[in-house]
Symmetry: C2
Subunit: 341 residues, 2 copies
């Protein structure tokens, strides 16, 4: 049935696998009737995990995969060598059309390599970018690319901008999303060679809402809906977000522990603070899609709990319903036609 | 007298000029006898500002400069065109040896261009990097380069590592400072072309304490004393630090205002929190030096108040006392000898 979204889920990847991954799968099928999950991993382990839950049995199916790709393994070697790993088995199901999407909390490198090698790119897509959502004061922004393609070329960044816009509009429901390019100043003449070359190309795109340069300082305030950058820079942004955020929260907590007065204040302030901080967390939106592939590949955080896994699975339904890949195909084709004109 | 440090101070640059700049100069000379300040800017304006303070008059001298370079002006044109600006007049004094150092809260671009064109590089230094201190959970790290030289080459980064190490050891008193290169993973084979080429070169340096790759996530936790990166990436790190920090503090504050309970808690917790947050602020250490020039050039934050200006001036004394430039000259020469071997 075409109104069912089939998600191949890597049950063995991530810090909390398989426990939280299986739990996330159960939560997803308890919430939605239109999802079917293909859980890849060691059958006996997964059977045991599933045994403790009550759920519609026809919505979760175990697909045995005896090997596990560890985070530290060199990705190319792992994808080639471990043919019976939970990642390879799941991705091949996407390739063959037996699954619409793939979700993993495992090795980012293996997911990126597998996505390109096993699932394959949409015709015309030069490089598939990894595009996580990051929290801002206004909601979330899509950071694209954030680790898939270092040393990218201007034409790649233009495709990222288009794919990112489609994703933000169709999956996040952001009408006519603004697109900014990460730069070291607001003026058009600023930047490194890549940005200087890409800027006028983005400006010339009729199908995106390009607003120009965005300085890193303004990203957390929601400067643009789609933040375009090269993967090295994107990775630095994503990880520094985490690092500065984590360090500051630690500082705030330790500040609250310095005196009796501050401890009492901390207790009083805690519930409200927890609530506010929830807004500054993008995990409720699911994982980071690897865009431009023939099937959807979603990478969730290595430390994902069941909630994030569940959200990532549900995100796949929206992705399918909104026909994102058809829209990406059309946009890429349009770009090529413009080029040939 | 050689034990006096002469600082040319741009009185017209920055958001709070000339008020806070002049105040900072007064604070510095009230603290230290061994400083002499050459205040460049509009004489009549500065005279009026100075009139409201009591200070040792022989320690501050006004040097008239009728023009002001605005932040938005294209730097090269500004430095060339405004020969009587506070920046150009001050930098020329450094060039002629009439001042040991230059401090400005004005246009970063103009300071960078002026430093190269007017003050000039130490022989052998390929590119002078801008190296601000950033706060970490362990104290501060030196971020080098952070805006001066986009699209740098590996040999530049190696020089940055050496100059940064000298600065951290001699000015900050950090013995045998650790040096890390910003990367998107901890393994040696990770990275973009620049990092992959630079990594083994840094590893081969006998005169620095290279510890390998540093991921952006770990920078706020004090992963290395000297954080080496290309200027575009450094600029993103510096500004995102500011952005995420500012946004989170805003979130915490708004969280404290959500209910009566949290408001009371907020009041109780405020003094302790303020104290803790002070640690997470690098401005007490002064501004960012532009290293590798024949004189010292220091860029302080555009929004600097008198305290930062004063700290930046005092930083110049340490820089001179510790003979940083002699040490840089020796290190650069050593590198060239090693190359020729």
């Amino acid at each position: 049935m075409s109104d069912i979204t089939k998600v191949a889920l890597d049950a063995m990847g991530g810090d909390n696998a398989p426990g939280e991954i299986v739990k996330g799968a159960v939560e997803a099928v308890q919430k939605r009737k239109d999802i079917r999950i293909l859980l890849t991993g060691r059958e006996e382990v997964l059977k045991k995990e599933l045994a403790s839950y009550t759920y519609p049995a026809d919505q979760i199916q175990i697909v045995n995969a005896t090997e596990v790709i560890e985070t530290a393994e060199p990705p190319v070697k792992a994808i080639r060598g471990k043919k019976d790993s939970s990642i390879v088995v799941a991705m091949k199901m996407v390739k063959r059309g037996e699954a619409d999407a793939f979700v993993s909390a495992g090795s980012t490198g293996a997911v990126l390599v597998g996505g390109q090698v096993l699932v394959g790119r949409i015709k015309g897509v030069e490089r598939p970018p990894l595009a996580p959502l990051i929290p801002t004061m206004k909601g979330v922004s899509l950071l694209i690319d954030c680790g898939a393609n270092v040393d990218a070329r201007p034409s790649h960044l233009v495709q990222f901008a288009k794919m990112g816009s489609i994703y933000m509009e169709s999956v996040l429901g952001k009408k006519n999303p603004t697109v900014g390019i990460v730069n070291i100043g607001a003026e058009e003449e600023k930047g490194n060679a890549l940005v200087k070359e890409t800027f006028p190309m983005l400006k010339a795109c009729s199908d995106i809402n390009f607003i120009g340069s965005v300085e890193a300082r303004d990203i957390p305030y929601g400067a643009a809906d789609v933040i375009v950058c090269e993967a090295f820079v994107g990775n630095v942004i994503l990880k520094l977000y985490e690092g500065v955020g984590g360090a500051l929260i630690k500082k705030v907590k330790s500040g609250m522990m310095t005196s009796l007065r501050s401890k009492i204040g901390g207790l009083l302030v805690k519930p409200a603070l927890k609530e506010t901080m929830k807004d500054f967390d993008a995990s409720q939106y699911g994982g980071a899609p690897l865009l431009g592939l023939t099937g959807l590949v979603v990478k969730t955080h290595g430390s994902s709990t069941s909630t994030e896994v569940c959200n990532s699975i549900i995100q796949c339904v929206t992705f399918k319903e909104q026909k994102i890949n058809e829209k990406i195909k059309a946009a890429i084709q349009k770009t090529q036609e413009e080029k040939n004109d």
